[in-house]
Symmetry: C2
Subunit: 231 residues, 2 copies
Amino acid sequence: MPPSLPAALVVLSGGQDSTTCLYWALNQFGTGTVLALTFDYGQRHRIEIDCAIQVAARAGVPHTILPINTFAALGGNALTDAGIPVQSGANSNTELPNTFVPGRNLIFLTFAAAFAYPRGIHHLVAGVAQTDYSGYPDCRQATLQALEQTLRRGMDYDLTIHTPLMFKSKAETVIMARDLGAWSALADTHTCYHGQQPPCGECPACLLRAKGFAEAGLADPLVERCRAFPP
Amino acid sequence: MPPSLPAALVVLSGGQDSTTCLYWALNQFGTGTVLALTFDYGQRHRIEIDCAIQVAARAGVPHTILPINTFAALGGNALTDAGIPVQSGANSNTELPNTFVPGRNLIFLTFAAAFAYPRGIHHLVAGVAQTDYSGYPDCRQATLQALEQTLRRGMDYDLTIHTPLMFKSKAETVIMARDLGAWSALADTHTCYHGQQPPCGECPACLLRAKGFAEAGLADPLVERCRAFPP
């Protein structure tokens, strides 16, 4: 039998959600038909990319890292601009945090589509969730649906964007990861906005992650690993 | 009186169409309220960016050049990959030319929106045209409408994408440029896929440009200038 053509491309950030989506895709499309794509866009912490590399390697998935130097040139947000402290105040539920990079997921998925197109890949998978605490408008279902239309029309190509976590709580995502066999992989993921391992436990991303595991009644494999094998 | 806030952002490639759109925007929104944005995305010819700089300077419009290193990393097309010759065969009406970069205009306009957002700019202007010979699907009205929806939803921001050339023939665009006072500026623009000045006159872009001026019954100011002042 000839090797399967790649069927799906997962946008892999090296975080908990996209890692869970990678295992969802392997389950959905089959081993050997999934590729992973990570963007090196000037994120504050190189550790995110290292985590994505580890996650993809553990899953046996071919992995490409694409550079995007544009966000850093745009400047003015805490995710790529080291001069801006990450906001972790009490207002994070009422307004967009200063880690908001306008259009970030739109750019990621459009480049993912441009990567998928010449490879004959018709399925994109992204770990965005509308339930995400942050209120990022580019994570919402309505946005992703409009983007899918835009990509289909703009490339004249049949593309589907899968967002298996869209309506899940963080606790449900934790359970899903366990059921999909992504548990060990979660120990390789990165969440902390401060780039720390063990995670700082205090930034909005760490707090959200901890809440998810607590509500699922499960211990975070990353925290366990850091306890057993301090980095 | 305080200076006007910027109202519109024109995506300026340094070509004939986007230059015409810059003058359309100046006419529509008023001098002092228009900004221009050019992408340095690894195009084959640096001359395009130099032309954009000249055009913006002549028009007195603040001009930003943003880098995008991702298309070159994606590779595989004649616009950014110097190893691939530009296709100029007879089939250019029936299939996509090999200068097709999937999603290029989607990326440009999404980054333009990300640039516009923190500046309070609500109007984007792009020189795309559905009548363009190339058949690029990311130049079509239906695509741009879907993209506008996507950007509005994805940034939770009121944005309008203006495409004043969408249904114009090249000849109509030439007339429009003349009527908008963009005539001298057209002498600063660049079209040739081979990066030549004077233009090669043989590549698809040069042929299309020449056809437009011929049908409008007007001489191309760029050709005139190169004749009068050989570069």
